[in-house]
């Protein structure tokens, strides 16, 4: 089985300590997280976590099963093979001089449809949104100018079309 990047959408109860349980599970069982992003979902009281992890199918299946054992985990969907929209936000502070500022701005806005959101005499902040590989590409391009600071949000994902992949099951009363 081949190792590849899997994107998991995990719906969890929005309660204290839940993220700790999830991250602790990864550490304890030796799984690596490439990216993790958390925020509210469409349902009050439920958070939506988008996890990107590397592994073969068997390892990811084991990861999913272990995640389900966390009480607050409601639903996990492996959306890797879905027709996905994946988005990540990055803020990149680059060194800029009078000589290269316009080059950077042209590259960023024309090629990557990114924005310059702050400027000083010797720096620029680039705001870029898109699939992770687009952000990787932009970072590669501006690296030669000198990256002073980089912040990435982690990827979030949603399947195209009307179908909802990460649905909330009916609550079960024990």
């Amino acid at each position: 089985m081949s190792v590849r990047s899997h994107t998991l959408v995990v719906l969890v109860e929005d309660k204290p300590g839940v993220m700790n349980r999830i991250v602790s599970l990864f550490r304890q069982r030796g799984f690596n997280i490439d990216s993790i992003a958390v925020g509210h979902s469409e349902t009050p009281g439920l958070s939506r976590i988008t996890l990107v992890a590397q592994g073969d199918d068997r390892k990811i299946e084991q990861l999913v099963k272990q995640l389900y054992k966390i009480l607050e985990v409601i639903k996990i969907t492996d959306v890797t093979d879905e027709n996905l929209i994946q988005r990540e936000l990055a803020l990149i502070k680059v060194t800029a001089t009078d000589r290269n500022r316009s080059d950077i701005m042209r590259l960023v806005t024309d090629v990557y449809q990114a924005r310059i959101v702050d400027a000083t005499p010797d720096s620029l902040i680039i705001e870029v949104t898109g699939p992770p590989d687009k952000i990787d590409s932009l970072i590669t391009m501006v690296r030669s100018y000198g990256i002073k600071e980089l912040a990435r949000s982690g990827v979030i994902a949603m399947a195209r079309g009307t179908r909802v992949v990460a649905t909330v099951p009916q609550p079960v009363v024990a």
Binding site: N20, S24, L25, Y68, K69, L71, P171, V173, A174
Partner: protein
């Protein structure tokens, strides 16, 4: 006990008129959950609960170290099938519980651990005896929680007990800050729990059952591997019927012992690293393995890629995460072992495997139980065999961890469910004596033998005091070989007999027992074994026997760690060499 004379407070379902202290509500909630016994140790942060304790019909057993409280709650749970409860204060009290909690997690034992915590106003301030016990126990509990207000007490305790005993059982820890114990409020009535993320599958999918039945029909050399799940789900009767109808032999994991009668003609005894040779050979030759309520632990499989090389796997377990974790599984069956066996019995007509069974029988060789070795010194296996004979196989037997544990697993033939209590997954030395304590409290009518080694017993022999306080019917059999025997065996076999730090001295156990006001004897010769065991059985209450045995006796057969059936070391092979 003193509780008989205490004033008892009724816990009614009537709404309470006056608000009460959280400490009282904790105890009322425990009584409401059916708690009769708490193994515990008081301290500052749990003092309000201890202050209220005498008012409730709960037998508190004062242990001498909190680790024993957790082990005793574990032994109580294994012997009775009920949830065991242990209690400790914050900080060191709570951290001392950790080994026992980890043990319960590994072996799927329902215990609830209650810890006091410093007041919420100082949490995070490194207050005296403050420890983040929910953080520490996160990976070793099925669930844990901090009760942050008096209103949460009832629902939290109800939830803790439900989680501990349902699905795949396990330990649940409840941390209660002192200010919550001292706040006033009302006990919320028991109500249906809303746990959207917790839905254990009890009844297996019928389609998987049919697929399993089809594989069972086709198999020529099928084998059942029965684990702890048989005991947890109370499936012994169903397993016996299933094995008899299909004529499939049954191998047992260490924790599956007593789940299927050892004297049954289809029982092969324990499998795995120190399992019987014929049982392991049956795995090697099988064309179908039916794992029921077990998890293909590495002590069972050895090297997984070489395990049961000719067999398809049917795996029945209530925890879906166990299925496919170690082995590729043809038919996964998620559900309760008993329910699965019931459904399989509906599907399957009688089968016969005479050739297969007689083939396995032809491999059978008994574990040797000669009274003495070539040097004339008492053999440990003989002690266990005599203990089994003289107790008519009816005692509850707890063990520590090591050679004596394996000899007892091999030779104390258990026919009665829940009579076998041993630390499996965690392999926690020190378990034998406190778990015997818990078993004896839970089953006061029973004769309980704690079979322990001279290493393990020295980890928790402080509990002799508790056993004597409570006048428990616990007989401690110390198999003293002057070594940390199992480690020494590995050093002998795999580290060129470099006995680094494994010779271990002991106190005079007879004097020690007497110091604890415990009847005690020492046995050094084979001829004294029967008499000593009969002596210990001749009265009710604590007794200690030290058996001084051959120092360099080994546990055989043995499949070295990570090895395969082909690597098995059999005592018959090595006779004369070691």
């Amino acid at each position: 006990m003193a509780i008989e004379t205490r004033e008892r407070q009724q816990v009614s379902e009537e709404p309470q008129r006056e608000p009460q202290l959280g400490a009282h509500l904790v105890l009322q909630a425990l009584v409401r959950e059916g708690v009769e016994v708490i193994f515990g140790y008081p301290g500052g942060a749990i003092l309000p609960v201890y202050d209220a304790l005498p008012h409730y019909p709960i037998h508190h057993v004062l242990v001498r170290h909190e680790q024993s409280a957790a082990f005793a709650a574990d032994g109580y749970a294994r012997a009775t099938g009920k949830v065991g409860v242990c209690m400790a204060t914050s900080g060191p009290g709570a951290t001392n519980l950790v080994t026992g909690i980890a043990n319960a997690m590994m072996d799927s034992i329902p215990i609830v651990a209650i810890t006091g915590q410093v007041p919420q106003s100082v949490i995070g301030m490194d207050a005296f005896q403050e420890t983040d016990i929910t953080g520490i126990t996160l990976p070793i509990t099925k669930y844990n929680m901090v009760i942050r207000s008096v209103e949460e007490i009832g629902p939290a305790i109800q939830k803790a007990f439900y989680l501990a005993r349902s699905g795949r059982p396990g330990p649940v820890l409840i941390d209660i800050p002192k200010d919550v114990q001292l706040a006033k409020g009302y006990l919320a009535p028991r109500q249906e729990l809303h746990l959207p993320g917790y839905r254990p599958t009890i009844v297996p999918h019928r389609r998987q059952i049919r697929r399993a039945a089809e594989l069972i029909r086709q198999a020529k050399r099928p084998l059942i591997l029965a684990g702890h799940g048989i005991l947890i789900s109370g499936a012994t009767e169903e397993l016996v019927r299933f094995a008899e109808r299909t004529q499939i032999p049954v191998g047992l994991t260490l924790l599956g012992i007593s789940g299927f009668p050892a004297s049954h003609p289809l029982c092969l005894g324990m499998v795995g690293m120190h399992g019987h040779a014929h049982a392991n050979r049956a795995i090697h030759e099988a064309d179908l393995i039916i794992g029921i309520g077990m998890r293909f632990d590495d002590r069972v499989t050895g090297r997984p890629s070489e395990f049961a090389p000719n067999a398809k796997i049917i795996h029945i377990d209530i925890d879906p995460a166990e299925i496919g974790k170690v082995l590729k599984t043809e038919v996964p069956v998620v559900g309760d072992a008993r329910e699965a066996l019931r459904l399989l019995l509906e599907e399957l007509e009688p089968l016969e495997h005479d050739d297969w069974l007689s083939l396995i029988r032809s491999w059978y060789r008994p574990i040797r139980t000669e009274p003495s070795g070539p040097n004339g010194i008492l053999q440990p296996q003989y002690v266990i065999a005599r203990l089994h004979a003289l107790t008519e196989g009816k005692a509850i037997v707890t063990t520590d961890v090591g050679q004596h544990q394996m000899w007892t697993a091999q030779l104390y033939k258990c026919d009665i469910p829940k009579q076998w209590i041993s630390s499996g997954g965690l392999g926690a030395m020190g378990f034998g004596v406190p778990s015997a304590m818990g078993a004896a409290i839970g089953r006061p009518e029973a004769e309980v033998w704690a079979v322990v080694g001279d290493g393990g017993v020295q980890m928790t022999l402080n509990e002799f005091a508790t056993i004597v306080d409570e006048q428990l019917n616990v007989k401690v059999a110390i198999i003293n070989n002057g070594y940390l025997g199992m480690v020494r065996q590995w050093q002998q076999l795999f580290h060129n007999r470099n006995y680094s730090e494994t010779p271990i001295s002991s106190p005079d156990y007879v004097l020690l027992g007497q110091a604890y006001r415990m009847a005690a004897r020492r046995v050094t010769r084979p001829g004294e074994v029967d008499e000593a065991i009969l002596w210990a059985r001749s009265f009710r209450g604590p007794a200690l026997i030290e058996f001084v045995v051959n120092q360099e006796e080994n546990v055989f057969p043995m499949i070295p760690s990570g090895g395969t059936f082909r690597d098995m070391i059999d005592e018959y092979q090595v006779e004369g060499e070691w």
